[in-house]
Symmetry: C2
Subunit: 177 residues, 2 copies
């Protein structure tokens, strides 16, 4: 019931794969969850301390390990889908006011967005290659692949949108340019 911090979910979840230090938790979040999640540095240690005092994790030789209570708690939190975050897309905010921003700047903004999406697609290709080579975490592979696929679909949609929008913008006279 209680609105739980998403940080708790992320930290418990990475510890559910294997025990590790706070430093390694940070790296796992950045390297494995990086394309759909982030935690700021200064948040991980306080969270670990809190989870420890609540007996959801305990100290082991190789860092922090989930306790039984921690595993139950994690599953409970995974099943609780909190309300979707209110949208905040600064690129669209700017484009909505494109007539104030100017044609040229708008066009540039779309092209930057397109370039970012293409860069993401390259990253996803790398991740996919690593994923296919992996076999230590077989039970996870399908789900990991599903999250990568979400990123790919999203990035491809962004590229298609950008191309369409640039074509539409090309047909109007430039201002503020």
């Amino acid at each position: 019931m209680a609105r739980t911090s998403q940080t708790d979910v992320a930290v418990l979840a990475v510890l559910s794969v294997r025990p590790m230090t706070g430093y390694a938790v940070r790296e796992a979040i950045r390297d494995q969850l990086g394309h759909f999640w982030s935690e700021s540095f200064g948040q991980i240690y306080p969270t670990l301390a809190r989870l420890h005092s609540a007996d959801f994790i305990s100290k082991a030789d190789d860092g922090w390990a989930l306790t039984e209570a921690g595993r139950s708690r994690l599953i409970e939190m995974l099943q609780t889908d909190d309300a979707p975050a209110p949208p905040r897309n600064p690129v669209l905010l700017r484009l909505f006011f494109g007539s104030a921003l100017g044609t040229e700047a708008s066009r540039r903004l779309i092209e930057e967005t397109r370039a970012r999406a293409l860069a993401q697609l390259e990253r996803f290709a790398t991740i996919r290659a690593e994923l296919d080579a992996e076999d230590e975490y077989a039970e996870h592979q399908l789900y990991w692949s599903i999250t990568v696929s979400a990123g790919e679909h999203s990035a491809r949609a962004t590229v298609a949108w950008a191309d369409e929008s640039l074509a539409a913008l090309a047909s109007v006279p430039s201002n503020h340019g």
Copy 2:
């Protein structure tokens, strides 16, 4: 240079279309920018007060109006694209740990996401219809259409991803179900 609050951008931007009260600013953000932006209620009035004391807006008969300084400030802020927000997608966070969450719950999560995307597509169809009927804000129409298009591409990508992922999930045995 100074990292400017995105709330300032949003508020100044809606006031750039026409002067209005704080209450109307709130409604404009909810109704016109709602599919890519949100501001919480308790933030609009303090922001207006601050913008006023900085002489970016002034009181007019019909509410708050941009000053000349305010219009310059807006354009300056529109041109400053701040770093993209770190991603935080709670659905993907949960799916990444799908083997802990369970097959059935994962499937449900994807179906809910798919349903939300379909609902969004319907909303976009309505918005498009209104947009085509509109002719008071001709200069804005192209840009408004571009933001709706972004939403449409994104929602369609979500549906396609969901269908693919549900098909992939259908072929694995159920657990925790």
